[in-house]
């Protein structure tokens, strides 16, 4: 186990600070955004981005929000939301019209009745895209997956050139966080803030 050689002073200067993570773009492992637009159209404009936690679903949803035609309506359901349908209802306009493009993040938290209500409320929308952990009530637009190479690529992009790069430690980190890249970033934040060390049997930073 070795400690990090570079420690940041201000939280905002940390390579893994939230504003830097939010600035990352979705990495397509295949056809890109234009192909996704086309597929959504083929699916009637209603579809789901499917993947486990920390696999880039929200990042991709944000990119679709910014690029799909129509007036975007973003709905975010919190992780500890006690009444997800109420959250959705308060973020949707009173009447969803054909000009609206509706994007619902963390829609897996809606129960059967919530889903039924959501599908009904958005039936006139130009497009409706939701993120889900598993295939469900909407046809799947894309399945998000992560792997060691993706984590490495993103870490290399986030780190300044002259900063030490995790070598063998990244694979262990990825496994420990079960492929949740956002969760990996949270641990890396602490490592580069000098508050934690990254365990690795083969060395580290």
């Amino acid at each position: 186990m070795r400690s990090v050689a570079v420690a940041t002073r201000r939280p905002a200067d940390n390579p893994f600070a939230s504003h830097r993570i939010d600035g990352l773009v979705f990495r397509f492992n295949g056809p890109g955004l234009t192909a996704l637009h086309q597929r959504l159209e083929e699916l009637g404009g209603r579809s789901a981005i499917v993947g486990p936690k920390g696999s880039g679903k929200t990042t991709l949803l944000d990119e679709l929000t910014a690029t799909l035609p129509g007036k975007p309506i973003q709905v975010r359901i919190g992780a500890s939301d006690r009444n997800p349908w109420h959250t959705v209802r308060t973020q949707l306009p009173t009447s969803v019209i054909p000009d609206h493009a509706v994007f619902v993040d963390s829609a897996e938290q809606l129960g059967t009745i919530g889903w039924r209500l959501l599908l009904r409320a958005t039936r006139h929308a130009r497009s409706f895209v939701a993120t889900l952990h598993r295939p469900g009530p909407l046809p799947t637009l894309i399945e998000c997956r992560t792997d060691h190479a993706l984590l490495r690529k993103l870490v290399e992009e986030l780190l300044p050139e002259d900063w030490p790069v995790l070598a063998p430690g990244l694979e262990e980190l990825f496994e420990r966080h079960e492929g949740n890249i956002r969760s990996c970033f949270r641990e890396l934040y602490d490592v580069y803030a000098g508050r934690a060390t990254l365990s690795s049997s083969q060395g580290g930073l």
Binding site: R9, R10, P11, A12, D13, N14, F16, A17, S18, H19, R20, D22, A66, R186, Y189, D190, A193
Partner: protein
């Protein structure tokens, strides 16, 4: 090519609560844009989810392809710019072209002193 510039009148970036931030936003677009907005906002950055609050917006609909707008925005009472153990709270003013969302940003420091409050 789009050119966006933002500057405060005296080139300063530190403002006390209650003071006026005065400056000029200038732009040049190759084609028409729907609107431009000058926004004063703060955001947090660090570990976890980012928080953002826009505290003032000056909107100009259907601006000319080249032009400028002088702005004057009063600084609210808070929050101050600070850095803690887990987050930094930072202020900025930005010029945004809509609907494309191209931006130019000017970082500011808000508080009674010209340095960010350190609460670690």
């Amino acid at each position: 090519m789009t050119i966006l510039t933002l500057q405060t009148t005296d080139g300063g970036s530190w403002f006390k609560p209650g003071e006026l931030i005065e400056g000029r936003a200038s732009w040049h677009f190759d084609g028409k844009v729907e609107a431009i907005e000058v926004r004063l906002f703060w955001y947090t950055s660090g570990k976890g989810t980012r928080d953002v609050e826009i505290v003032h917006v000056l909107r100009t609909d259907s601006p000319n392809t080249s032009g400028h707008r002088d702005f004057s925005i009063r600084v609210p009472d808070g929050p101050y710019s600070f850095s803690g153990k887990l987050i930094t709270l930072a202020w900025a003013i930005e010029l945004v072209a809509l609907p494309e969302g191209e931006t130019e940003r000017l970082d500011l420091r808000i508080g009674p002193q010209p340095v960010e409050v350190d609460i670690r």
